[in-house]
């Protein structure tokens, strides 16, 4: 049974208010806390000695979902977990991951999740990953996710990565390799505050003809926090890639955006856009002229930006 804190973390990271429909695997403080499989989606504990699970989704599975949230509510847990997703051909599924850390103690809590996705031909995957941290202990809340995506022909992967609150340190690495006609969309939303540090590195290899990617990051850096966004798109053939980093910088924060485009074919069309700046003065003025205070206007602008 999950306690209140654990339930609250599940709501934060997976919008869950109870046991979800479909397949799921709950991991709480390093232990399996619940699992359900369906006729089409199997979840099995790894047998190779590593911690983690294998998720296998049968060919043709449509309109099903898998939830695999992780909660750390004891101070001082450090774990590396390997989760492998084998998505068959012609699927249309939603995968909700996410990690919530509640750290009231003085020891660091750290979850390093290594997620690998093998996406079959013509399959569509929507992946949502939320990070959330809370607790007033001195111990740090650390998340270092590694995501690898291998997309077969004509597959479509849409990833939403969200980290709005409470994670002290993140180093995110996302790598993808796309075959013919495959598409990968990434929407990252990030807010850092206090002394938080967040690094996000993307490397998308467009290997198949007509493959495409759009990596979009929107972030807000406040207080003394630091963010590094690095997006590398490699175009090995006729393909199209677009990366965009749009950051609002506040207070004494520090934001670095590093674009890297690598075209190996004349028909590789790659674009990178990066913008870092403070909240636009005219946006504040407009909202204040509607009767909002400056602080209210700021909150609305940031809320919209990170939506």
């Amino acid at each position: 049974m999950l306690d209140n804190i654990q339930m609250h973390m599940l709501t934060e990271v997976a919008d869950l208010h109870g046991v979800p429909e479909g397949a799921y695997n709950f991991r709480v403080n390093g232990e399996k806390a619940g699992r359900n499989t369906t006729a089409n989606i199997d979840i099995a504990t790894k047998t190779d000695g590593k911690s983690g699970i294998d998720i296998r989704i049968k060919d043709g599975t449509k309109n099903e979902s898998v939830h695999i949230p992780v909660v750390l509510s004891e101070s001082g847990i450090k774990e590396t977990v390997y989760n492998d997703f084998y998505v068959g051909d012609n699927c249309d599924v939603v995968i909700v991951a996410g990690c919530g850390i509640h750290n009231c103690g003085n020891q660091d809590s750290q979850h390093d999740g290594v997620h690998r996705f093998y996406v079959g031909k013509n399959s569509k995957v929507r992946y949502v990953e939320k990070h959330y941290g809370e607790g007033d202990g001195k111990g740090k809340r650390i998340l270092n996710p590694v995501t690898e995506v291998y997309q077969q022909a004509d597959s479509y992967v849409d990833m939403e990565m969200v980290q709005i609150k409470g994670v002290d340190s993140t180093h995110r690495i996302t790598k993808a390799e796309l075959a013919e006609g495959a598409t990968m969309i990434v929407h990252e939303r990030l807010m850092t505050h206090g002394d938080q540090v967040a690094t996000s590195v993307y490397e998308v290899k467009l290997q198949g003809k007509g493959s495409s990617t759009d990596v979009i990051s929107r972030s807000v850096a406040r207080d003394n926090s630091e963010q590094v966004f690095e997006a590398a798109i490699v175009g090995e053939t006729a393909c199209s890639g677009h990366a965009e980093c749009d950051a609002i910088i506040m207070d004494k924060a520090h934001v670095v955006a590093i674009p890297k485009l690598d075209a190996k074919d004349v028909d590789a069309a790659l674009i990178h856009e990066a913008a870092i700046g403070k909240i636009a003065g005219d946006q504040l003025i407009k909202l204040m002229s509607l009767g909002l205070t400056e602080a209210e206007a700021e909150a609305q602008i940031i809320g919209g930006f990170l939506r």
Binding site: R218, K286, M288, S289, G291, F305
Partner: protein, 247 residues
């Protein structure tokens, strides 16, 4: 009633001081439909921003309903009942049309009532309500949404800065109707900056601003013929629709 007493707004450019608003005295009476016009660069938008509190004046006083608002900020003036539709609408990221209308009304209004404000400015509401207020909307669409936010506030003093700018000829007809309706239904004071004869034509009063000063102010019947040369020119001009041209 809004009153400017000897108001000056000065900017410094290349070490040269310039009075964009130059010792201006102006009274805008209650419940009137007042159109401000005058040459480009005369200081009309600057005046509007000065009333809203966006520009800080160098000297003089502003009174609103007898209260000295010179030291009040934008939010405070907005709460006292002043609204302003910008000449150049602001773009946002992630804020939707419905959000802006809700912020404008200060209430969590339903989609239906938000749609009513959009219909008033001639937008087919359902298509727009969930759109982001960004450059995926055309200039004319943004402009009409901007006007709708001021209608949604429904304050006793509303300023519209060149509402016709960027609006196509078909929507222009519609926009004139919007302002004719405002003229009939709004209890408060409406201040419109415009070059449009058809808007000038529905004014109670016209104020001409040039070089940061009030060059002329008076009833439409007195000022408009002067602007157009002769009284007969008014009739001739009114019979043809020419939204692009000003006076």
């Amino acid at each position: 009633m809004l009153e400017l007493q000897n108001v000056t707004y000065t900017v410094t450019e290349n070490n040269i001081e310039k009075n964009i608003i130059d010792h201006m005295d102006l009274v805008i009476p209650d419940g009137k439909f007042v159109v401000i016009t005058g040459p480009n660069g005369g200081g009309k938008s600057t005046l509007a921003k000065t009333i809203m509190g966006i520009n800080h004046i160098s000297s003089g006083r502003l009174l609103f309903d007898g209260e000295d608002i010179t030291a009040k900020n934008i939010t405070e003036r907005a709460k006292l009942g002043i609204s302003f539709a910008f000449q150049q609408p602001v773009h946002f990221k992630g804020i939707k049309v419905i959000d802006l209308l809700r912020l404008a009304t200060g209430k969590n209004i339903s989609k239906d009532s938000a749609c009513e404000y959009l219909s008033k400015v001639g937008l087919c509401a359902k298509e727009y309500i969930n759109r982001e207020v960004n450059n995926s909307l055309s200039g004319g669409e943004l402009k009409r949404i901007e006007i709708a936010t001021v209608l949604a506030r429904g304050t006793k003093f509303s300023i519209f800065d060149e509402p016709e700018a960027g609006i196509d000829i078909w929507s222009f007809q519609n926009l004139i109707q919007v302002f004719e309706n405002i003229r009939k239904t709004v209890q408060g004071t409406v201040l419109i900056i415009s070059h449009q004869e058809r808007i000038l034509n529905i004014a109670d009063e016209i104020v001409v601003i040039e070089n940061g000063k009030v060059a002329k102010q008076g009833a439409k019947a007195d000022i408009l013929p002067e602007l157009l040369g002769t009284a007969s020119a008014v009739n001739a001009a009114c019979s043809k629709l020419d939204p692009k041209g000003g006076f």
